[in-house]
Amino acid sequence: MKMEADLKIGFKDKANKMLGYHPEDAKLSKSYIAVAFIALLVGGFLGLLQGLNRAGLLELPSWFNYYQVLTAHGLLLILVLTAFFTIGYFYAALSHNLGGLLPKVRKLAWIGFFIKLAGFVLAVIPILMNEASVMYTFYPPMAAHPVFYIGLALIVVGVWSCCIGAFIQVANWRKNHKGQHVPILSYFATGVFVLLFFALMFVAVEVLFMIIPWVFGWVDTINVMVARTLFWAFGHTLVNIWYLTAVSAWYVVVPKVIGGKRWSDLLTRVVIIALVIMNITGGFHHQIIDPGINEVVKFMHVFMSLAIGFPSLMTAFALFAVFERTARRKGGKGLIGWWKKMPWGDVRFLAPFIAMVAFIPAGAGGIAQSTNQLDQVVHNTMWIVGHFHLTLGMSVVMTFFGISYWLVPFISNRVLTPQINRLGVIQTWIWTAGMICMSGAMHYVGLLGSPRRTSYTTYGDHATALGWDPYLMLLAVGGTLLIVGVILQVYAVFNMMFFAPKGDTEFPIAEEEDNATKTPYITERWGLWIVIMLIVVAMAYVIPLTEFIVNAPPGSPPFKTW
């Protein structure tokens, strides 16, 4: 009896090894993913409150006003959901690809987990007390309670801890596998953690050396332009970190789900390197309307931003080629006929597929916004909110949802049942409909002039403002559909995590094409790529930053504008 049990365990262990499943690492990823989806649930409800308010359907009470809700919605979804998901997902990949996490790496990730949670709690308390309605961008001279910034600083430290863990893990693997390429998903993870590590330095400087001394009153004034610039050097990079995370699933996982092969390994790695090198400097496209930046410099930065568009386009090309090849191999015929061969009923394909399609209008909108004259029309209007609900709320988040339908079963040692799959498909369509309504309405009403970050007002029944109402109503309808989507999604995740039938789930990683060109080893020389990245960053930031600092205005004292 005892022996049989032992044998069974032995067998189980072997199966786990073959699947690259490591229980302790899985627990880590599970915790990260659970936090991410709780953030989605809470953040989603806050979003609904905002949507209903903007449509004039709901007046928020004075003890929980629009700007508190908005700050929390932004932080929960932009920071907590994405950071926790990204880390949970990539740590699962590192564990699976690289033979399990080293104990010290796991420990670093756990330390990071709790530091981040502590930081988040510290940041939320002042928001709830209406002491930190500064939105997730926390632009000075708006000043929140000092505790808010201490919380942010802790979150930074927590993420750094995870970055360092990932670096140790990859370096160790490379030492033991000399001359081999790091497996592709771990390669993505390396790129993402490199970007996170360096991008966080900018906010860390902003928060630790500029804002904290200022809110404590150790210094009287702050250089607003420098602070904004440091914020966006980080903020923009964060955006592309989400993008890289989503792309990793598009390139590596989706082809496997549809039974195809991965597109060129070399091209994939080149895209990752290109994004890492060129990314941080894109930050200035968030400051196109800011004063104090020379036109020539702005022009250079538009060029840099659009340069990132190039690898993105390569991505789109590669992916649709993979789809077509796979479908044709399965007997799909004709110009459009092969579409029928795609697994439309499989949520692991459907959700990321729609996410990719959404990236087409999202990218087009982004290119429009990078243009100075066009941005003057939409800057700080609801258009922008529409834009990032399309990019982040659809392209990225729907990919995360798609990932969850195999990742959560994998780390929970359970399976995706047909029922949950069907629920996922329904969820995907609801989310799609909701986002199209909400984001479409936001884009349009933005063109009509409705400002972002502004609770419901008719400006004394001004005709223009009244003209926005129908679109804002559509926005609320979209938001309502979305909250249904949120509930279904969160239900699905926790069902797969705790209640689905036990069983083995594969970690889907597509193979390379047979006749693939060999990837040169230089793609593994991260030292080189990081030095080039730093040079590019220096080239982009030295001119404007020197100007901001040397020709600085008197600076601003803190303001509480709410």
């Binding site: 370096a171 490379r174 030492k175 000399k178 001359g179 020539v296 080893y521 593994e524 030292g527 030095v531 730093l534 040079i535 220096a538 080239m539 030295v542 001119i543 930053l545 020197t546 100007e547 040397v550 020709n551």
Partner: protein, 185 residues
């Protein structure tokens, strides 16, 4: 041959008057983008000359020292504020810039670097690091305008670019010192 051709394209791009004028209009771009890119263009084109005149390089630059010396002299020369000024005012000097940086400095760097031993390489990088720190210090804290053609703010910007480049090189040296690539490759 491919890379020589791209080098030539880059070179032609850089000397086109609108591009050259734009790059020279900002001091830091003049020194930290135009000049290095001219050197890079030369390094790319070097292959062509190495294949064409192998004996010449063999004879005059067998251990890399003459080449790297030429490179260093030219670099130091072009980092003087005075020479930048002159390149902007005198066409002759500007012409010399467009010829000396790619064809003398770029080619000799490419031909010499591989021939140097690690000690030589490191000493070159270290000397440039020290030089850059010094120049950064001069450009940032100099109380007067050093170039007739550029304002003090541009000078300060350039100084920071020098300091950051020096920091970059220190990072590189540290990386080289602490990390042994053969443990990974």
């Amino acid at each position: 041959m491919n890379q020589s051709f791209y080098g030539l394209l880059l070179y032609i791009f850089l000397v086109t008057p609108p591009v050259a004028n734009f790059m020279e209009s900002l001091m830091v771009i003049h020194m930290h983008m135009q000049m290095p890119m001219l050197v890079i263009a030369g390094m790319l084109m070097a292959r062509f000359f190495q294949k064409r005149f192998p004996r010449f390089f063999e004879k005059w630059n067998s251990n890399g020292v003459p080449g790297i010396t030429l490179f260093v002299i030219l670099m130091v020369y072009w980092m003087l504020p005075r020479t930048m000024d002159e390149a902007l005012t005198s066409t002759l000097v500007e012409g010399f810039k467009f010829i000396s940086l790619p064809f003398l400095a770029g080619i000799s760097l490419r031909d010499s670097w591989k021939k140097l031993n690690p000690f030589g390489k490191n000493s070159i990088i270290i000397s440039f690091t020290v030089l850059f720190i010094g120049l950064g210090w001069i450009y940032i804290w100099s109380p007067v305008q050093l170039c007739n053609n550029y304002l003090v703010i541009e000078q300060v910007t350039l100084g920071w670019a020098f300091l950051l480049t020096a920091i970059g090189m220190i990072v590189y040296l540290g990386y080289n010192f602490f990390i042994d690539p053969s443990a990974y490759e």
